[in-house]
């Protein structure tokens, strides 16, 4: 072959092309000193297969060589490529966004385009139109009340979905006595360590936690109620107050055990209270929107700004939202740690 390569002219080119073609198609001449390895048994699993799958490597076609190479190196190269491309994508996105941020109007300037006539309208007329001292509460629970209704519905739907996903499998455990989370050795693989040292077993006998909880729970409950009920007067409202109320429930569950909480806040209580709150919200706000849109006189009084009983529907709506949020957040905690509300 070397003599052929040394020759010049079209014959030489043809010979080079011929040898290249033979190399690609794997039909070249056999070297004399070739050692043919034994054929591996065909049923070996992928990881135990020898790397040179073909007995005569130089005879494999380019396609075969390519697929063999892909089998050996493909995953590694793909993961490298994937990591590189993800970092590159993120860098490109961040630099584009940074270039945009550099062109934004200056931070905190009063002439920014975001502070336009919408804001002027909300601030100047929000007080006497909604009756709420807290303009944000008037905004989210009066002007944009259906948005907040959707939020509460999203939260409730998420809680029901988590209940469906996590509650159903664990309820089977109480039916036939066996947990679906135990492996062959009868050990629960959701708990690390031996079962008698599980997190909840230790927590139930915690004297310090109990005495602190006895002191703290009434204060937390009172704080949550204040934040919910003063939602139209001060920072806070249904969402933050509901979150505070749910921490009281979670603390009670940790200090006294889930059974104690279950006696006054069960799955049924959660479903009934949340759906009642959603229904009250939808009906009362539907009435208010209906009368407002049709210019019918609404029977809901606005009250004087700054009073606790003022701002029309905002106070009951805050209480509804607070109930939903408290139930949902406690439900998330109980479902993820105990598997049941």
């Amino acid at each position: 072959m070397n003599e052929e390569l040394k020759r010049s002219g079209p014959d030489g080119l043809r010979a080079i092309w011929q040898s290249f073609f033979n190399w690609v198609m794997g039909i070249g001449p056999r070297p004399e000193n070739e050692v043919i390895p034994e054929e591996p048994p065909p049923d070996l699993p992928f990881t135990q297969r020898p790397k040179d799958k073909y007995s005569r490597f130089h005879e494999a076609t380019l396609k075969e060589r390519y697929s063999q190479w892909v089998e050996i190196h493909g995953l590694h190269i793909f993961s490298l490529l994937y990591a590189g491309l993800s970092v590159l994508t993120c860098i490109v996105i961040v630099s584009l966004l940074l270039a945009t941020v550099a062109e934004l109007p200056p931070f905190g300037h009063e002439r920014n385009p975001a502070n336009n006539e919408v804001i002027r309208r909300y601030v100047e007329h929000g007080g006497h139109e909604t009756g709420a001292q807290n303009i944000v509460a008037g905004l989210i629970l009066d002007y944009r009340a259906f948005d907040t209704f959707g939020e509460s519905a999203v939260l409730f739907t998420a809680a029901v979905s988590v209940l469906m996903l996590l509650g159903a499998s664990r309820r089977n455990k109480t039916d036939d006595g066996t947990s679906p989370h135990t492996d062959e050795a009868g050990r629960n693989f959701l708990q690390r360590g031996p079962p008698e040292l599980s997190l909840h077993a230790v927590r139930r006998d915690d004297a310090i936690l109990r005495s602190v909880a006895t002191l703290a729970i009434p204060i937390i409950l009172m704080m949550g109620c204040v934040v919910v009920i003063n939602g139209h007067l001060s920072p806070g409202g249904g969402f933050s107050g509901g979150a505070i109320l749910s921490t009281a429930l979670i603390l009670a569950a940790n200090a006294y055990g889930f059974e104690k909480v279950h006696s006054f806040f069960s799955e049924r209580t959660f479903i009934v209270s949340s759906s009642t709150a959603l229904m009250i919200y939808a009906l009362s706000k539907g009435y208010s929107f209906f009368t407002g849109a049709n210019h019918i006189h609404s029977i809901i009084p606005k009250g004087t700004i700054g009073d606790i009983l003022s701002a029309g529907l905002i106070l009951p709506l805050n209480i509804c939202v607070g109930l939903i949020v408290a139930g949902t957040l406690y439900g998330f905690y109980a479902l993820f740690s105990e598997g049941d509300i």
Binding site: C90, F107, E110, V123, I135, V136, A158, F239, F332
Partner: protein
């Protein structure tokens, strides 16, 4: 450009934070860490919105009494109340999505015993192949 970025440092921090979150989301193979990345991106959005609503030297949008039984209603006194409402929406949706994603992750862990998405997908594919093979066998039996 750097001066302008320093002027808008809250927005710049929000953008970098969202980049960190996106990288986390793409590169982590652990599902819990992916969800943490998603939450970092959410936080970046809240920071951006809160920064957009701020106005230098103005008070929170809660009406201040003017001392004579009325309320100060000038829009020159209060910051933008709209981003507060938008951030509230964002937080609620983020909490719901996080809880649902964590519940799905827990179910994947119960079924496949792993949090690594590649391993879980591999096991899912194997399971699927096993099921298909069993269906084929049953069909052959029926035909025979």
């Amino acid at each position: 450009m750097l001066e302008k970025l320093l002027l808008n440092h809250y927005e710049a921090a929000a953008v970098i934070l969202s980049g960190i979150g996106l990288t986390n989301l793409l590169l982590q193979r652990n599902l819990i860490k992916k969800i943490i990345g998603l939450n970092i991106m959410d936080t970046a959005v809240y920071l951006f919105l809160a920064a957009k609503g701020y106005v230098e030297g103005r008070a929170a949008p809660i009406l201040i009494a003017d001392g004579a039984g009325g309320w100060l209603r000038s829009s020159e006194l209060y910051v933008n109340p709209v981003p507060a409402g938008l951030v509230l929406t964002g937080i609620v949706v983020s909490v719901s999505v996080t809880a649902f994603a964590l519940a799905l992750t827990l179910k994947i862990y119960e079924s496949y015993g792993t949090l690594n998405i590649d391993e879980a997908l591999l096991k899912m594919t194997q399971e699927q192949e096993e099921i298909e093979a069993r269906i084929d066998e049953a069909e052959e039996e029926v035909l025979a």
